[in-house]
Symmetry: C2
Subunit: 371 residues, 2 copies
């Protein structure tokens, strides 16, 4: 029998969750020597990812939705990387590295998995052994956040060289990649983040310009940083319905939004005609009792904006393409990925709170054990 | 010399414009016997269209925009139908019927046109003589409003049989057509309008259901009328970020929006996952000093909505397809078009105000003269 710490969801939060109030670390035991049933195997968890979307799962499960709320008093789940340490399942061999899919990898030091649960939740990812990338990359840049960045920019943003791309939360799990992918596509890339240190980092990884959104007016900062991307067809109280178009006068814009709220409302004002707004998250809204009001939505009409929300789990058929294209970029060092890694599964709740407060610097992940 | 009444833009309105304050009828004279310069011709106006977008042109021209503001103390412009009564231009022969494009047909009883102005503004449309459709159809269902309905629903809405389509302003110039086109495509079509008489009319032209948006709560009405189209993944204060999808559980939805504001905000709440919101106008916002706040925009993310603004003048390459496909539907009576026609060019300002107040019943147009 060995000790087995688990991250448990203990209470539905109102407003901002707290590490010790809404979650807990429970220590049980697991018998690693017990005989496994047909198809069963045991995972030792190496790395856990915490991400903003998890706030949405900390809700009353009676709220009608197809998205799984966390079960009260059960282990939380999310992207994980593990190693098989014992197996009675030919598809998951001892020493195989295994990725636990978004919302399905169990947050425990050891996980006893049935064949049925494994089918949708766990994927063998042994390339992680060969290419020497850090295991933590497999819950971030090569998992849900990375695919969100890659799919969103390419498939929804439809970027064309020379366009201006703006990325909020630009030092975060998704944003830092959107910016680097955008540069590789020949875009002019502007980012924002919440500290000067983050802003400096964004510029160091190739963003053309960046600003601290807590420092000064967002709209003014955007106008300063996006010289080609703004200033047209502004709606201010007086409606500006535009119906005769001279499209080649304007540079098209892309906004990759993970923030929502006031940030999004400012972008509506400064976006160009025919801008694409890609929404993969609205972290500024997740802990509010009532969402912030937006006043500038009419620009979607007057500027013919395409404002598109997406959740990467709807596009898993793109996963292999994504892995095939992005893994080499990491191996060659053409794309870098900054992670904010803490050690010890017991730090998972506080790491999640850090993410929700924007206090992480880079992709937040938790190292549970060495390989 | 004959008398020539013109509709003049006289003052930039703040808030709601008034027929006599912001516009005026001026009577000058025109010499129909004077010799025409090379390429010149004279039009006698038959029909004028007034439309909600015209409010946006009643602005200070110093507000930076590529869309033409109305020139102060000059004739207003918009969709018109006219007949050539004198010509020194082989492309515009006497008795030719001529369509004045959106924003370019001059609102006067007689218009002296140069070859240069004619090139972009005026199109010969002699099929109007052959197919016996009323001339007024050529400034409405076969002009900007009709093309807005047809293009928006087909190209942006990407409708699939069985889906639920909701149309606001459903007895108006665009909405009545969106609904009929939607029924022809096998959609379940729901509309709303501002009087019981309009609601009755909407149902009489084939809408499956309809409600008076001034009567009761919009969201509740929508839930009642769209049995298959609503109720999923509702965001109410608590965030519902959905990431595991079972798309075949849900009926996709389309909302064709000409209203914006509270109506749009209610639709965000009741829309299905993967809904398309097509915005061709936001008439509820055009006369407000400050736009109404929207609170439910986060649903664009959680429901993966595609919210797309468009202005039909960007898509004039679609005009011939549109005319080829829709004209036969009118000739055969498969699609009907209700118009609210007043007589006399002097009634143009009050007709426009009527439209902005939603007091028109059907497409508003002004009969200026008989052919």
């Amino acid at each position: 029998m060995v000790a087995n710490k688990q991250v448990i969801f203990t209470e539905i939060p109102e407003g901002f969750p707290e590490a010790e109030k809404n979650m807990a670390i429970e220590e049980s035991t697991i018998d690693l020597d017990a005989k496994l049933g047909m198809g069963e195997f045991i995972l030792k968890t190496l790395e856990i990812s915490v991400d903003p979307y998890m706030r949405g799962r900390m809700r009353d499960p009676s709220i009608k939705s197809y998205a799984p709320a966390f079960d009260l008093n059960k282990p939380m789940t999310g992207d994980t990387m593990s190693v098989v340490i014992k197996s009675n399942n030919p598809d998951y061999k001892v020493d195989d590295l295994v990725y636990g899919r978004t919302g399905q990898g169990v947050f425990a030091e050891y996980v006893h998995v049935s064949a049925e649960y494994a089918k949708n939740a766990y994927v063998v990812r042994n390339d992680a052994k060969e290419n020497k990338l850090p295991i933590r990359h497999y819950v971030g840049v090569l998992a849900m956040p990375g695919m969100t960045a890659y799919y969103g920019l390419n498939k929804i943003g439809k970027p064309k060289p020379g366009e201006t791309l703006y990325v909020s939360a630009a030092s975060g799990a998704v944003g830092q990649l959107v910016g680097q992918f955008g540069k590789a596509l020949g875009l002019y890339v502007v980012g924002s983040a919440g500290t000067d240190e983050k802003v400096k980092h964004i510029k160091s990884i190739g963003f053309d310009d960046a600003f601290n959104y807590k420092d000064g007016n967002i709209e003014e900062n955007l106008r300063k940083c996006c010289p080609k991307g703004i200033g047209n067809a502004v709606f201010r109280g007086l409606v500006d319905v535009s119906f005769v178009t001279n499209t080649n006068l304007f540079i098209l814009d892309i906004y990759f939004d993970g923030v929502g709220g006031k940030m999004l409302d400012a972008v509506f004002l400064v976006a160009n005609d025919f801008a694409r707004i890609i929404s993969c998250g609205m972290i500024s809204q997740y802990n509010l009792a009532k969402p912030e009001p937006l006043y500038n939505v009419i620009n979607v009409l007057t500027k013919r904006i395409c404002f598109d929300g997406f959740i990467i789990m709807d596009h898993m058929d793109y996963e292999q393409t994504f892995l095939d294209e992005v893994t080499p970029l990491l191996v060659s060092g053409k794309v870098t990925y900054k992670e904010d890694e803490v050690e010890g599964i017991e730090n998972t709740p506080s790491a999640l709170i850090k993410v929700l407060k924007g206090e992480n610097f880079g992709k937040m992940c938790i190292k549970v054990a060495d390989l």
